[in-house]
Symmetry: C2
Subunit: 456 residues, 2 copies
């Protein structure tokens, strides 16, 4: 039997493990699921005859090495910062490895050794990064192979609430790590290139520089820029492309309302609020507004941020109870971001029956025989339930498929890899279709960065 | 002869050295002026018979130790990060020391040794910190000694252009380090307390949360919050005060216009602009605005930041040529902040005949026998010329006066000190009056943080 070691059995490992278990008889597999908490691992395998759950603290060197030594191939679903220890052991014991994370500098440095041993270290083979790489490169390669020149590439992904579970004014719930949602976009300015012009957007303007995306039958969405779109130039071989933009998808109106928190300073994670434990939600909100003893927190806010009487943004704020004078923050030495997260979790936590949704869209502009064309490609995946979420399916299935194809020698180019070559993306994308992860494609008029077709 | 070693002969050392030279005969002083560039030191002493210029690189341990060993007392006018080496040598050779900088953690840690040797290490005895401490503590002590209870303390300082040299729309020129002006206010949120309520202002709102200050015969100004006002609670013994606010003074209208740069992201120093060397001022401005081929940079800016047709802010931007399509940035791998600094230096560099100005204001609110009162105290100093600037006078004179009083045993409490006790501030403030550094004081109606006296 071939042994697949899956390290980390958290939320995003559910569909991955199910896929492998379902294939285990036919493919002659034993699945060893390792987690710090053995119960988490046990819950994933449900006494499946071809599976084994083990307790594994990644910092326990003896147990870690033993588990890796005994495996045929290793999947690390740990947080990205923990991959390296696993990777070093995989090199030492000559095991191929798969992750859904960005290739770190340290991981890249293992390349020579990985090649020498003839191993495949496949990374960035989840959703984003992962399905985005594969689905984009499939069309980019097709355009280039036809002899056309790529002018524009834009790519957007969003982890959202499914339409059937979308029942609040923000059209948003926490379908992944809430802390990452609160901190999204912080750090250095977002950077991209449009028609050859470099553009920079500071964090405090990011949520007001959104654009509208039309995902046809799935509806219209909005997108805001990711931190650094330019690093994809070398990865995708798009050094000469005039427009390169990567972004995050939200439902329309989310960003304009979220901007209220950004403007107030509520998303700041760099300092602690005085006496946070004893303050109410209203006190918290008031701490970002001027002192004015004869005005309400409400009117101070409307005036400060110029929120009109009939602006739906106001109803969104009310829905979150940020003016509530009885609800306590009840967090010791908390940062604004931590307090905001708590306030949001009161409203945005999934109910048992809620489903999540992943949406992705790419735009490709190109020139062929002197004429400009554009292809849009887009997909939507809805979660089955709160175990087999859209997030778990889209992150885990490509990881699982890649692992089996490496094991079976269908993917064989050795080295520290990401899934941007035809050898890799073609079979994985094809199999993903069996699981409902399908892109639709349409040709549209090329408008470049003049989508409203304005003339001077 | 008593030897005073002055390390660092830069711009802010001019008045300090002149003061000491003028007193040298009467006080039996030799002034040894040390600078990395000996010509800078020589220019300061102009062949004065009681002075000597020496070349001293602070990292040359042998020369540094020798110079300190030969001195009776040492003044360090170096950048704050270099004081510690000097301080350690002063401990080793039992010399008292004076600086105009904030006490660092490392400096504070020398306290026990300094006390043991009976030395005085006087710090924070320049302008801000310095004159602000002394002038505030003089009134705070007076209020307390009368048996009143302090309710409110606010303190503001500004380094500005003198009215007679104020000839641009911004009412501002670089009278001190331009880089510090561009980066002012960045980092964590500003934090203060008003009437017992903690308030937090993020950087991107700082320049829109100004208040108006009335400096009577010197005119009205505006003030924006400094980073952390709360640290003065323990320093001044104001643990129970309801309002504590420290700020920076600008001429009215500066901050609202500066906010344009903040909103665009032009003050960011954390990343490098692509191809900065070859871009024009207009390109730089455009890189923060959306791509829109059929609209001008000008209209995109007005729309993005909602600048009305008749807003004076617009004229301020035009004055700086930020839309100029011919002027080149000509800086390699520059950050937005570095490019903005260059653009500003084209317009805000002092002319030979320009004079600078320092303004300071304190507000003290207190309760005495059940009634509330307020004292405002304020001062203005105009520079003589570009050597004996208001900045050099207000930073250097208190340092020089403190040094002589330590040398003469008038200030004698040993340890790592700052000038907040009567023994120190009383004689220094008195002598500063001879040099035109005088506070005016007036009693006003106590309005606390309700300056417009609004009733509900």
């Amino acid at each position: 039997m071939r042994k697949i070691l899956v390290i980390g059995a958290g939320r995003s490992a559910s569909s991955l493990i199910k896929y492998l278990l379902d294939k285990s008889d036919k493919e002659n597999l034993q699945i060893i699921v390792a987690d710090k908490k053995i119960q988490v691992a046990r819950n994933r395998i449900k006494n499946h005859k071809n599976a084994k759950a083990i307790a594994l603290d990644i910092f326990n060197e003896v147990l870690r090495k033993e588990a890796i030594k005994n495996a045929t191939i290793v999947i690390s679903m740990l947080p990205a910062r923990f991959h390296l220890e696993v990777a070093k052991d995989c090199v030492a014991f000559s095991k191929s490895m798969v992750t859904a994370s960005y290739i770190s500098k340290e991981m890249q440095e293992l390349d020579a050794e990985v090649v020498k041993k003839g191993l495949v270290f496949m990374n960035e083979v989840g959703l984003d990064p992962g399905i985005d790489h594969m689905s984009a490169m499939q069309i980019i390669d097709k355009i280039r192979n036809n002899g056309a020149k790529l002018l524009l590439f834009e790519s957007f992904t969003g982890g959202l609430i499914a339409p059937e579970s979308d029942d609040n004014l923000w059209n948003y719930k926490f379908t992944w790590n809430p802390r990452n949602v609160v901190l999204a976009g912080q750090g250095s300015a977002a950077k991209f290139i449009q028609e050859g012009k470099y553009k920079y957007v500071p964090y405090h303007k990011l949520f007001r520089r959104t654009e509208i995306l039309d995902l046809r039958e799935y509806g219209k969405f909005e997108a805001l820029a990711n931190r650094d779109s330019l690093k994809y130039r070398t990865v995708y071989g798009l050094e000469d492309v005039l427009t390169l933009y990567r972004g995050t998808i939200r439902k329309i109106g989310f960003s304009r309302a979220w901007n209220v928190f950004v403007q107030l300073g509520m998303t700041d994670d760099s300092y602690v609020i005085e006496d946070s434990e004893n303050m109410t939600y209203r006190d918290f909100t008031n701490s970002f507004l001027a002192y004015a003893p004869y005005d309400s927190v409400e009117l101070k806010m409307r005036h400060y941020l110029k929120i009109d009487q009939d602006d739906i943004v106001w109803e969104k704020l009310i829905e979150l109870n940020i003016f509530d004078a009885t609800k306590k923050v009840a967090l010791k030495r908390a940062t604004p971001a931590q307090i905001l997260q708590k306030i949001l979790m009161d409203q945005w936590t999934l109910k048992a029956e809620d489903k999540d949704m992943i949406v992705m869209m790419h735009k490709f502009g190109y020139e062929y025989k002197g004429e400009k064309h554009q292809i849009n490609s887009y997909m939507q995946v809805i979660g089955d339930d709160q175990t087999y979420t859209a997030m778990a399916k889209t992150v885990g299935l490509p990881v699982a498929i890649a692992t089996l194809k490496i094991l079976n020698g269908e993917i064989k180019t050795s080295g520290v890899q990401l899934p941007i070559t035809k050898e890799i993306y073609e079979p994985i994308l094809k199999e993903l279709e069996d699981y409902g992860i399908t892109f639709k494609e349409e040709k549209v008029t090329y408008l470049g960065y003049n989508p409203e077709n304005i003339m001077d």
